[in-house]
Symmetry: C2
Subunit: 246 residues, 2 copies
């Protein structure tokens, strides 16, 4: 892992470092309080791709995390931002847009082509980044995952034993195969649902919540569209992680 | 209103007073901080009936309220506890139990006979008690409602303009007519749902949440049965009221 830039965020006791690991760009935020003798638990911040565009929301989440004594990290999704595109995924995205424009139902085949390659590629990258981040003296376990793409969160929750709790945003299309994986998830979950999300089927999200195998899972549904998650859900997420990662 | 007993709760800065208003017994809890110059907002604590049996849970909620600077009050439901029974409601309750024992679906007619008389009788009583409580110098507006019976909460939210926010527990049968009333509710709502509530139909609760006319409404669904609402939902309720009543 190579740190390529660093800055102390103004008015906050947060240290921000940009990094690359191989071809993967990412950002690590650590609270001042984190040290080798008091390592900070880590929260991985998922997002739909496009690190530069997502930066304002991600840094706001990272500040929340730091205020709770957590480190936070994010990476660019494969095929997004400055990273080389996947031709097949781009084609699926174009097909999805065309179906939505035509008012057609989005069929499972398009969703599979769009999401499954992302999951296949992003999850091993997250795990590799996690290996390195946990080797830093100021970062300790346990680890949380917060955000979208929900299918990536599901796969990570199943395969990565270092992840102890997750806040998942039910705001993207979910391949049918991921419902079976959801049944294998046993970590504590807080699932966020926007009740009138224009890009997400409500019943499918409720079915997914039902499918999760976790004994402790909570659904928070709020009014409004995809980008309307209320600010107080950030606080609720902090308290959820405080209960499970401390 | 006649105060019939009073005590200061141990280890808490909470003053508890039992009262009667006409034939209605109730309890009022006020924080030490409440005074004529700094009146406390009031939270009405709903419950399924049986004040004595419900006391441990109610006093725990009242302590939460007081810690946030809120007064809290509850009354016995008509037909419950020491109050005279309604023969028609008792018959409906017996019919309901028999239907559940026989594994039969609970039909709308039984639910109407069980719940509608409660709503008709309890809501004017709550409003009368509210008149008196708000005339006390140490109690001020705005007012919140928390708990069950959800149909009582719905009717109160529609007819009582002094109620500004409600935490409603979707854990009881809801007459079809209340769905129309739910559409008229416009106050901020936090709706609690137990995902595997043995006495409550999940889809009906989701439909009810959808029906509420409020712009700000949040659903919190948790695992487990009717009595398994997790303790952290108490904290979430406190924060909800802090956002809307302060």
């Amino acid at each position: 892992m190579r740190f390529t830039a660093e800055q102390r965020l103004e008015d906050d006791d947060v240290f921000e470092r940009e990094f690359t690991l191989g071809e993967i760009p990412g950002i690590l935020w650590t609270p001042e309080s984190a040290s080798a003798s008091a390592p900070a638990p880590l929260i991985l911040l998922g997002h739909p791709g496009g690190l530069h565009k997502m930066y304002p929301r991600l840094v706001a989440r990272a500040r929340h995390c730091a205020a709770q004594g957590f480190a936070a990290a994010t990476i660019e999704l494969p095929g997004s931002g400055e990273r080389p595109r996947f031709a097949a995924v781009e084609q699926a995205r174009a097909d999805l847009r065309q179906a939505l424009r035509a008012g057609e139902p989005v069929n499972d085949e398009i969703v599979d082509r769009l999401i499954l390659p992302l999951v296949e590629n992003a999850v091993p990258e997250w795990r590799g980044v996690l290996d390195v981040l946990l080797s830093l003296p100021e970062i300790g376990g346990p680890v949380g995952y917060a955000g979208g793409v929900i299918s990536i969160g599901i796969r990570l929750a199943v395969v990565e034993p270092r992840i102890a709790a997750a806040v998942l945003f039910a705001g993207s299309f979910v391949p049918r195969a991921m419902f079976d994986e959801a049944r294998q998830v046993t970590i504590a979950l807080l699932v966020l649902l926007q009740w009138d999300d224009e890009g997400n089927d409500r019943q499918s999200a409720l079915d997914l919540f039902d499918a999760f195998g976790s004994k402790e899972k909570t659904l928070h549904a709020n009014m409004g569209g995809h980008t309307g998650v209320p600010q107080f859900e950030g606080d609720d997420g902090d308290r959820f992680f405080a209960r499970h990662l401390k």
